[in-house]
Symmetry: C2
Subunit: 332 residues, 2 copies
DNA sequence: CCCGGCTGGGCAAACGTTTGCCGATCAGTA
DNA sequence: TACTGATCGGCAAACGTTTGCCCAGCCGGG
């Protein structure tokens, strides 16, 4: 049988309420009693039953998170950052995987809400198919979207400033002498695909880069490989290929290589996200690093704000990324 | 105010206990009442408060997991598998990151125990420094170790059969004509380092491979790079280099490349784990794939067993890996 | 007609906390 | 001395469930 606050109170010779107050500091308790209670607690090895506490206070000290797929290397980094950001205030992360399926995602969201999490951080699987479940759960508990967002829902969002990232890339490519660039990215099912596409044109124009028609598929290495072929079939290659994320970029590199095109000697390639393997790939990938820690902090801050402040206009926070130059755009 | 079982009972015109029994099926309830209760629950959109339920039943339907570092690409795959395995029985995973620090790990373990998780799945940070905290928490809740284990604690463990993995690698290397091999792995702080070292010699001998003195450092790409240099300094390279995990192997490839040694043309390299980037690397890495799903299922099974069966001798379950042959050992 | 057993509904007590309220004690002031 | 207010301990009621126990009703057997 675990030791309860009742045992502590008994050993300290005080009432349960006094013990509770002495331990939690909810109200001042005489110094002598306080020491007696804390001594008793230590002696007995008392540790609070968070469940009972949560039932009473309506606060679990737990934040739920749902990611589309944890094995997608972008998310572990984010999870880690959020876990760290939360642990600063003694909270825990309850993590779920949506298995890339909006139906699974809906179940997970409900399960987390049933567990009375204090807040929910969600990277929605789909910009449209995830909307209903997200809206439903947002009615019960503060929700912050991260990385991706659903359309038609007035929910907070925190992510990277895609336009800024593309400006960084365009600037860098211009610096190393590229004149013509083409974007290979994901289509508009995901919000990031949409905004990276939107940001590309202006960024290129700003640095006087000539662009060709973008190739839009899906985030994934396979699409990158295929896009490389399509690109070669289209005629002479551009000076640089801008990948919508690191996986696409890596696929492009692989596809070009298979055809005897060398990176970076014949064509430059850039990624987006700075997922773990971007540095490990060969050639190491020039990319744009998402500010994980900042994103995480911002998510947590918005959750706290939502709890404190009640209803407000949804906030959309786009944080500035940084450029990471590696071998894939460095001519030796 | 959320709708409680009380509201459901009221609307159905029955007592709270009947409502509870009708919904949970804990005891048979007349068919008419059952339908009335379920109809009321649906109409009101009732969803059980898991906290209250857990407080009463002493079962949270939540399993805690602590990993050394979620951004280490091996763990997301494991987390995903375990999450999936648990969701089959309607349970949730409460994930924590130990930030590679036994002290943080201890805090996380306690925090999970305080939240009354039904079980704990832990990949200990350190074979020795993690032992005390793990033993302490194991006194309160069933614990299963995964991947790594601590010495001097009688706790269940589930992981991969390192010896079998090395036999697969040795056999494959012998098949492709290698005669001399050397192991580059991690030292004995981690249990896997120890057992992979132990398995290497016999596996090589079985396939009549000549071995040289192993190089032992730590899991990580940097050590691989350094080891490649050490190896070259030592004299003529072996036919094949066996990495203790994929990161080391990739580091070795990089180190060799930098010195103008080609993989696989000049020397073969293998990894271990089949982390996500192993397939993405260039050359794609021949490696041994951990059976994530099996490991996950086994962890969950052991936890359930521990809850049901009470105290028993600790079980150590080593599951057979499979060989994945890729470019790093394929001479064209 | 009586009795025993079974079915199924409801009361109320838990689970381990927190907290509103009451009242006791004590110091300070008139 | 009496009164006021502040300080602080304790009682007991919550939080939302589940479940042990009791009891009513009913059926079948003797």
């Amino acid at each position: 049988m675990r030791v309860t606050i009742r045992d502590v109170a008994q050993r300290a010779g005080v009432s349960v309420s006094t013990a509770s107050r002495a331990l939690s500091g909810a109200r001042p308790v005489g110094t002598e009693l306080t020491t007696r209670v804390t001594a008793a607690a230590r002696a007995l090895g008392y540790r609070q039953n968070r469940l009972a506490s949560a039932l009473r206070t309506q606060r679990t000290g737990t934040v739920g998170m749902v990611v589309p797929q944890i094995s997608n290397p972008f998310f572990p980094a984010l999870v880690e950052a959020i876990e760290r950001s939360l642990s600063g205030s003694g909270r825990q992360l309850l993590l779920c995987d949506a298995q890339r399926d909006p139906a699974v995602e809906a179940v997970r969201l409900q399960a987390l809400a049933d567990r009375q999490v204090d807040g929910l951080i969600v990277a929605p699987v789909s910009a449209v198919a995830s909307a209903d479940a997200l809206a439903a759960v947002a009615a019960e508990v503060p929700v912050v979207q991260v990385d991706r967002y659903v359309t038609d829902a007035d929910l907070d969002w925190v992510g990277v400033d895609d336009a800024a990232g593309l400006r960084l890339i365009a600037g860098h490519l211009a610096d190393v002498g590229a004149r013509t660039v083409v974007l290979v990215s994901a289509g508009s099912e995901s919000s990031t695909g949409r905004s990276r596409l939107a940001g590309f044109g202006p960024a290129a124009a700003r640095h006087r880069l000539t662009t060709a028609e973008p190739l839009l598929g899906e985030y994934g290495i396979d699409w990158g490989v295929r896009a490389a072929d399509l690109l070669r079939a289209r005629g002479p290659l551009p000076d640089a290929i801008v990948g919508g994320n690191d996986e696409i970029a890596l696929g492009v590199v692989r596809g070009l290589r298979a055809a005897g095109v060398r990176v970076p000697d014949d064509v430059l390639v850039t990624g987006f996200d700075d997922a773990g393997f971007a540095a490990l790939a060969d050639p190491a990938l020039t990319t744009v690093r998402q500010p994980h820690a900042l994103i995480a902090d911002e998510c947590v801050r918005l959750l706290d704000l939502a709890r404190a402040g009640g209803e407000q206009a949804p906030r959309r926070i786009a944080l500035a990324p940084t450029l990471v130059v590696r071998a894939s755009t460095t001519r030796s």
